[in-house]
Amino acid sequence: MKKELEKLLLSVQKPAAYAGGEPGSVIKAREDVDLRFAFCFPDTYEIGMSHLGMKILYSLINSRKDAWCERVFAPADDMESAMRERQIPLYALESGDPLSDFDIIGFTLMYELSYTNVLNMLDLAGLPVRAKDRPALSPLIVAGGPCACNAEPMADFIDLFMLGDGEEVMMELLDLYKAWKKKGGDKASFLEAASHIEGVYVPSLYDVSYHEDGTLRAVTPLKTAPPVVNKRNVSDLEHVFYPTDFVVPYTEVVFDRAVHEIFRGCVRGCRFCQAGFIYRPVREKSPQTISRQSRLLCEATGYDELSLCSLSSSDYSRLKELLEELLSWTEPMKINIALPSLRIDNFDRELLEKLSSVRKSGLTFAAEAGTQRLRDVINKNITEEEILRTSRSAFEGGRTAVKLYFMLGLPTETEEDVRGIAALAQKVVDEFYHNPNKPRGKSVQVSVSASNFVPKPFTPFQWEPQATEEELIEKQKLLRESITTRKVQLSCHHPEISALEGVMARGDRRLGQVIEQAWKNGCRFDSWENHFSAGTWRDSFAQCGISPAFYANRRRAYDEILPWDHLNYGIRKSFLQREAEKAKNAETTPQCRVRCAGCGADSLNGGHCDARRKD
């Protein structure tokens, strides 16, 4: 490590986040590899090191002899100013080499509010933020992750996006790049060739035109780029690459444990949930493979906790079998199994007792809406009876705290729905006091967390207007007033942050200039409440002459061309439209295992879907 950097690290908070060298990190000789890939997470180390996608792709790229993948995170404020002051460019943790030395710089876009961090990291590396100002093939700036499903706001900055599952498309892209580098090919021809890889979207190869009212007129492919870009789908989860080692951080990070993805996709079809649609179809991994791979991972890392990751754990079809398989070695190895997003009611209690996570953590319900009518609108099939019954048995088991998650600003929401949140929380409180065996001298604590609904692409609500900041503030006020007991604690999300998220989520290319302007005006870490500056963003929109309301608060017609219409995630637009209409009538759609709703996601998976295979 350079002496200059060492000195600087002594003066900043959490220096371990900038030092590298953690167990599991991969060091290669520069001269032994053809390709150097910098995997950038546009947020701090503590957040980024918790992200499973990065761990998978890091190990995958490093499994190639010809490539070396390193990690880069966004420096916190104090580190950023120290680096700028001493003119230390942004560097990768493994080699300490500046980003500009790399062939490919890849960003993972997990949330819209990390966009300014992407620009800031490029700038800290001394690179021009706009793709057109980087004429050379190297470094190539790529991006993936859920936000790539509407990549348009970042189209001016990123050379190409990878849509969908990353494992296969990443390897093909590296092969192509290597060939281009060897023959000395230029960037333009590379991008055109890359656009023929399934799952690669090159925004500069599409011309976008607009109607006078600001809506899209057409998105026209240039040269040989495909008119519609399919997301990449990994069909065989059983045999796809999974890491047998993780980089184990020294310093505390948000999720510091072994993680295993047990299946991709979701059977539930909650209409607000983007992840529930874009990760379809359902593809399961066998209990034996999960168990074998997790064991290797635990042995290599020394972790004492294994988390089973998916969008809804209890929908894994062979959960009991999996847990029995895992417990056979996790118990002697003193490893705890964490099973997030579990539905307790339909589950084997004896097995549950063995899971420490259930024992340790509190009880959480994502009820999402306060009344059954609104829960039917959003297709969240959890009933009040289920919530109360499970709370009751938790209280009988000696527990005294329950968390409830809700959203405000859902389509068709009325004052009655908002008051329903307070009423439901009150019923949970009452449930505690009706319990004759309640622990003596203890009170109950019901935490209500109300986030703000943000309509997202590829969901049935993609055409819906988002509630305005003023409306959200009103709803929060009403909710606060409806809660009459101190046993219920309410926490609400920042309406202005949600408003910006909504604009970016369904934005188009014209937002690029706003993002750049906001970044120049000092915005970064916009998802952090203590960092977010609503005023600076407002000014930036005004400076660019762009109205945020056009993107967020307008009802879009079914026949309007949406900025992500030329990207295909397998989900048919007609299905989304059907679901949107059912929502208006508060009609539910059964989960996929009960009856296939015909979303179309299996079309990218050779017609297969593991939700349909059984029964």
């Binding site: 167990p23 310093t251 020394g302």
Partner: protein, 215 residues
């Protein structure tokens, strides 16, 4: 079931990890070996490990101590070998033996401070002998944050100053342990802020008891 004392060094970029991070890292390293570690028998079993004297963030150490508890038949040499095989660069076990001294017996520690060549050795010596170098120390009293002023040189330390090719080397013994402890980083900070004498590296070389080297 018996305790094994592990002497180890913590150098290079590992000096940027805190005491808490070190403890986590060591426990995980132990779990990556097949050393038969003893687990606590509480609600949440975890391996037993205790550290002789926390090292402040930013300092290196040549000779730190940690005790672990093992069950079954394993030789001390095997503990050292197995642990070294899984430790990251910057952490290295130098010795494993049956503990002799108690951690509480530690009363002092010897440090090396490395200064740039241009450093005025005479000025440094006169500060060290003055018997006074005040610094503000934040701590907690009755659960509240308090800032108090302490004299880092209340007891004039024994030290030697040596000129080397690449700078000035200070070898100094400071009080350490639970009763009276002088944090070397605070000393370095005070020297830099008040006198403009900046050490670029601090290394703890030895833990000491009243009778000599901590064993």
């Amino acid at each position: 079931m018996r305790d094994v004392r592990i002497k180890f060094s913590k150098t290079g970029r590992l000096r940027f990890i805190s005491h808490l991070d070190l403890s986590r890292t060591m426990l995980r390293a132990l779990r990556r070996t097949d050393i038969p570690i003893w687990y606590t028998e509480g609600f949440n079993p975890h391996p037993y490990a205790a550290f002789a004297l926390p090292l402040p963030l930013g300092a290196e150490s040549e000779n730190d101590g940690m005790d672990i508890r093992v069950t079954g038949d394993i030789k001390n040499a095997a503990v050292m070998e197995k642990l070294n095989a899984v430790l990251p660069e910057g952490l290295h076990v130098t010795e494993c033996y049956n503990p002799i001294d108690k951690f509480g017996a530690i009363t002092a520690a010897e440090y090396l401070f490395f200064f740039e060549k241009e450093t005025d050795g005479d000025q440094l010596a006169s500060i060290l002998q003055s018997g006074s170098l005040l610094c503000e120390k934040s701590g907690k009293a009755h659960g509240r944050k308090v800032i108090k002023t302490v004299n880092l040189l209340e007891k004039i330390p024994s030290y030697t100053l040596t000129k080397q090719d690449d700078g000035l080397l200070l070898r100094i013994t400071l009080p350490a342990g639970s009763k009276n402890n002088v944090n070397p980083m605070l000393l370095a900070q005070a020297l830099e802020r008040q006198h403009g004498i900046a050490a670029f590296l601090i290394r703890r070389v030895q833990l000491l008891t009243d009778h000599g080297i901590f064993k």
